[in-house]
Amino acid sequence: MIDSLRVLVLGKLDWSALPHEWFTIGGTVALSGMLLTVIAMLTYFKRWKWLWKEWLTSTDPKRIGIMYIVIAGLMLFRGALDAMMIWIQQSLSLGESHGYLTGPHFQQIFTAHGDIMVFFATMGLLAGLMNLIVPLQIGARDLASPLLNTLGFWLYVGGAILINMFFVFGGEFAAVGWLAQTPLSELQYSPGTGVDYWIWSLQVSGLGSLFTGINFLATIIKMRAPGMTLLRMPAFTWATLCSSVIIITIFPILAITIAMLTLDRYLGTHFFTTTGGGNPMMYINLIWMWGHPEVYVLILPSYGVYSEIVATFSRKRTALYVSNVIGLLGVTAIAMLVWLHHFFTMGAGADVNAAFGISTEFIVLPTALLFASWLLTMFRGRIKLASPMFWFLAFVSTFTFGGLAGMLLAFPAADYQVHNSLFLVAHFHTQIVGGALFGIFAAITYWFPKFTGFKLNETLGKYAVALWLTGFFLAFLPLYILGFMGATRRLDHYTNPSWQPLFMVSVVGFLVLCTGALTQILQIVVSIVQRRQYRDATGDPWDGRTLEWSTPSPVPFYNFTSIPEVHSRDAFWEMKQSGQTAKKHYEDIEVPKNTPFGIYIAAAAFVFGFAMVWHMFLIAAIALVAALLCVIIRTFDEDTEYVLPASKVRELEKAREAA
């Protein structure tokens, strides 16, 4: 009786799930320590109400953007810890020595590293940047649906917490690689809760990404300032549009693929099993139909960032603007047609492999248009080498290098030699770190003054670029070589002594990368301490070209006192040239009210996910009903906006100018 009640409420959860290994105890202590510190600080400084009212329930995209970047920064740190553990293990584990990690633990680490870096670090940083920049660039005050935006953010946070919950309950994460390929991830081969944590954290955060994608598409299509035609949009907005289109196309496929795996694990169906007529190879196809376009979701916004930066710091309008846009659209289209190159060796046959090899090579063409646009923008421009421009130059060197490696991998015949080797690992890290992440760093340096009112220290910024670039090549060039020497990916142990020196060099590279990251932290601290010195009162510190620079820094919550009218590309540059910037009039502004429903619904989704991991079906059902009730209450709430009268706007503006 008691026992069946326990199963009904607690499912599979029991005492043995609590932490008892060094890494789970360490993780639990670290997580609860962080939690307690935050709680203590909030209580000591009496900031609970402020946090709830000003931040957690905010529908202001600027606030949500900053919260995205903070959480994603934490997850970047978490993913980097995983990377460090992998690096140290591989530099030690030769011959007699087996390093300091067990095989299964090592497998969990590389799985978590991949998932956290893609879903929670990079995606989070990008969603943050989009929230901060896109409404300002198109002359809007908000997104199409403020509720979907806060809900998307909180689902992302729910997923991020869920993927770390295994430290506290369960003690194991998925040990199946970041995409949990079948049949390994089926119940028969992975009976523990690790894969279930993987499933539910990705489902929860994936739903958030989908909402964000839908919201940005609707915002960019429906809410541009009068006069801003599609071909007058800033490059970053174009890139966000393309990225959102890919998100909308692929995330439903991810959701349904994971759902089928879930049915296999929970209800004994046979989609991807090796028995019952299931087809594990179908999973590989479906997951890469999501997986390949996903890397373009990551890189496209950075392309947009580079376009903005190159134009601003070359003091020229973007050369070949239309080709630039065609480049973005071309990448978007081709991104969906190349997924099979991830498994040329699965045996689809020469014809199919050739078709996908050729379509993969074609991605060079739109990318070349983008590079042509950047180079010709710089040509005969008055180039100012500020630190965002340094990030761009670093990106050109890494991305060209990694791109050439990618072209090699796209030949099926060559791919058979280096498939799943460290050559591949080095290639995609070059693209994602050297492409997407450098773009995000460039964007943060470039737009930082817009949201804080002061610039970052330039000298330290340039040191950071130099360290990242050096560290990057030092860490990953050895992996290219090791790949050619036959080292496969995901090795926790090897017997060839000639590999070890290269792994050692790679670790040194990682340490240089760490100093680069520390320099960036130092840069932010120094800039905050000396903020008076770096203060920018104009709102336009770089002599910018697009509408976001027409607002004061930090941006008021209503963005614009009156919605600007756009007559050309580079709208703000045009205004400055024709001296139209001084004109100002005030109008009534409709502002969305803050809402706690994003948090409520996401919290219910989190509880649902956690309950499903442990088969607590009663609690899962309650969470589902709670989420539905929240949706219903919010849908029929008519009081979601208030009007800020023009007189109040004038007052706020006068107060700001006085300060």
């Binding site: 649906s145 839908i214 919201n215 598409l217 809410m223 169906t269 046979h270 019952g276 007529g277 029929f636």
Partner: protein, 198 residues
Amino acid sequence: MTATLVEVHRAEEKARKTYFLFWVYLMTDLLMFAGLFAAFAVLRSNSFSGPTEKDIYQLPLVLAETFILLISSYTAGLAVYSANKGRLKTAQVLLYTTGVLGLSFLTLELTEFSHLISDGNGPSRSAFLSSYFSLVGTHGLHITVGLLWLVILLIFLAKRGLSESMIRKVTLFSMFWHFLDIVWIFIFSIVYLMGVSL
């Protein structure tokens, strides 16, 4: 006077945004169904010595389901029309009809499912049945959500009448219902008709 014009303009703007968001959502849902259709196409012949498609499909029943759903879409469309004309009572009656038809569709589908399961041909019998139950069942789940939505819509319609935002909500429901009808047409043709003829 100008103030009300501004308000009307804002309401229209808001409706446009909401409809667009909902259309995009419907497209994502369609892509999710595409994944299920793809899985079904791959696995439909993997009956693993269990029943094949020809053994289990009962076309007369499915044809009845199809007509019921088609008619319910028609009544849902008429409900939007009456709501826009400001005829609350007619809209309510039409929505009730839609609900009753939807419920009968669901009952027929669940009867079919329970027969299969009680014969030992549940979703875990073979890959074919896994994909069949998931595809048809996901549609059925959508219908269930739609019916729940309809109940709540009818409660608030009785309470609040045909305000601007209630008309918008009736329209959104109707879009959802039509979307489910289109998906069902594909299920009817690709699953059932092709299943008995191939």
